[in-house]
Symmetry: C2
Subunit: 224 residues, 2 copies
């Protein structure tokens, strides 16, 4: 019987998946534009023609990588059909799901967010990303129409700031497993939907004073 795990000889062997992982890491370090097939061949330790055995070129690697990110994000949109209730609750579900996708597909989402549109493959990715952003904006607009969004925030800005916060995770989050990603999602939801400040009344209860100046919604408890 042949050895089921053949010993590696010399340079490592790649399948499409492991080749993609190395390519995405390099794209994220040097930029997609700034990475040539030559750079990729050097990093992988295999010839360019060995790379072409797996993929027709650099653009295909980008397409595979950003599809991984986008398919995950659109799957979260599809799940919303099963969520009853108000738009703001579906929005909360979408934020939770997006944070999990981001944590699980971190290098792929990072690449998606860094794509600048200098080539056709990048522009394709940007078009699908804009579609996702539009669905988020629609949901925020619906939440506003249902009276659940703060009236002093316009829905378009709210949508951008919300996903600006989610997307910023690619700058600092380092995956530490499922539980950590789930906890992170709850933190994002708390900050985004409830804000950083404790409620005025809670601040008083905790021995602080209620914050005194502008930009705040009217106290919901005027009778106190």
């Amino acid at each position: 019987m042949p050895d089921p795990v053949p010993a590696r000889r010399g340079r490592p062997g790649y399948d499409r998946e492991s080749l993609l992982a190395v390519a995405v890491k390099l794209f994220n370090e040097r930029g997609y534009d700034g990475t040539s097939m030559e750079d990729l061949s050097r990093r992988l330790g295999i010839s360019k023609s060995a790379i072409y055995h797996h993929v027709p070129g650099k653009a295909e690697l980008l397409r595979l990588a950003v599809s991984r990110a986008l398919d995950g994000l659109f799957a979260e949109i599809d799940k919303l059909d099963a969520v009853d209730g108000r738009a703001i609750d579906r929005l909360e579900h979408l934020v939770r799901g997006s944070v999990i996708v981001l944590a699980e597909q971190l290098p792929f989402v990072t690449l998606l967010l860094r794509v600048r549109g200098n080539t056709a493959a990048e522009r394709e990715a940007l078009a699908r990303r804009r579609q996702f952003d539009q669905l988020v904006t629609d949901l925020v607009t619906k939440a506003a129409a249902e009276g659940d969004l703060r009236p002093d925030v316009d829905p378009a800005s709210a949508a951008r700031l919300l996903f600006g916060m989610v997307n910023s995770l690619t700058e600092w989050y380092r995956p530490r497993g499922r539980a950590s990603a789930a906890a992170l999602a709850e933190t994002v939801i708390t900050v985004a939907f409830s804000g950083l400040r404790v409620r005025p009344a809670a601040a008083v209860r905790a021995g602080g004073r209620a914050p005194g100046h502008g930009n705040r919604a009217p106290d919901p408890c005027p009778a106190r």
Copy 2:
């Protein structure tokens, strides 16, 4: 008397400032790493030696550009000494000031946020950026100690999410003057400190229902 505005002949003349503006635009489009002096010379329409007349090299252009951003941000930190009151209020001032700096120095802050640390000049910029981030984290930690930060959010994550939201503006904000930047700052503050959802009580008043599920602070108005 000579003509006070000499007619331009052929290629445009640059001073250091206008040269820097073009360089930063190109760095933001192609990445700092991905831009050679050759690229810069082509975009400017002047020779490389004409560029060297203004600056010793590419790294100096990066230094000038990110200093513009960082000096603006650290000036906002210095202003906090004059702000009385609690850490959360100073944090709010800092967010407002940072959004204004970002809006007024948009290309420079954008470049700062895209710097990846592949060269010494980039690593210098990153080190100063980390200093700023540390000052933000200290302020958030103080706000937590004073009981003004939501207890279900850890200060380090809060600081990152807060400035993740602020920094995300470089991805979509297009300057439209001082009034627009000030309005944007108020929107960011409202979302970050008070959250997207209207207060439960306000939602009920507006004919909606209070959101029903998890992750929320206790209702501050339990007597109702």
